[in-house]
Symmetry: C2
Subunit: 114 residues, 2 copies
């Protein structure tokens, strides 16, 4: 089995969590400390801390201590580019489904999900 395939699967597994995606989207707006992140996505501090540890060990985010706080940021914007591309695919798929098999209002609803 290809080594880079295994590596890719590990990165994908790291990304394959709604909470972690939420964290990443928040970090895409700029660096942020843990407690603020927990506040923004309505999760507990230990929970966010655990997810950040996972993201960090995968090399997706980076941490920097600032006094008592620890500020996290994305290490590589390209990962989010890939995510955005995938989001685009999903969005178009939703729109297509809406156009094909639903009433106008349901389609509008689906489009609005974004």
């Amino acid at each position: 089995m290809d080594e880079i395939t295994i590596l890719q699967a590990e990165v994908l597994k790291t990304l394959a969590s709604p909470r972690r995606l939420e964290i990443l989207h928040r970090l895409a707006e700029g660096p942020c400390e843990v407690s603020r992140l927990a506040d923004d996505i309505a999760a507990s501090q230990p929970n966010v801390s655990q997810h950040l540890a996972v993201l960090r060990s995968a090399g997706i985010v980076d941490a920097e201590r600032d006094g008592r706080e620890v500020r996290y940021r994305l290490t590589d914007p390209d990962v989010m580019v890939a995510c955005a591309l995938m989001r685009g695919v999903l969005q178009r798929r939703l729109e297509r489904l809406g156009r094909l098999s639903a009433t106008d209002q349901t389609a509008a609803q689906l489009v609005e999900i974004q």
Copy 2:
């Protein structure tokens, strides 16, 4: 929590498996039936069938019966585009690591992982 985020996490979870990535890379070369797939990636037929069922229910692959065989194919090449993009990120990261912190031969080794 954003609905499209949850959907995205589900798709990512579906992709986050070395075996399934292997299957997808094989299907990227063209449609293929189950037993041939199992042969190509050296896995059991039930195993491949299960993975294909997962990929299918996620809408990533499509099945078409042809006599006794069932031919699978990618439904949306864009998904593989996103995968390729991510692969590129990983590849560049490996190369960077090789250049920065290793001897020339180790770097060559890392690059060769492809």
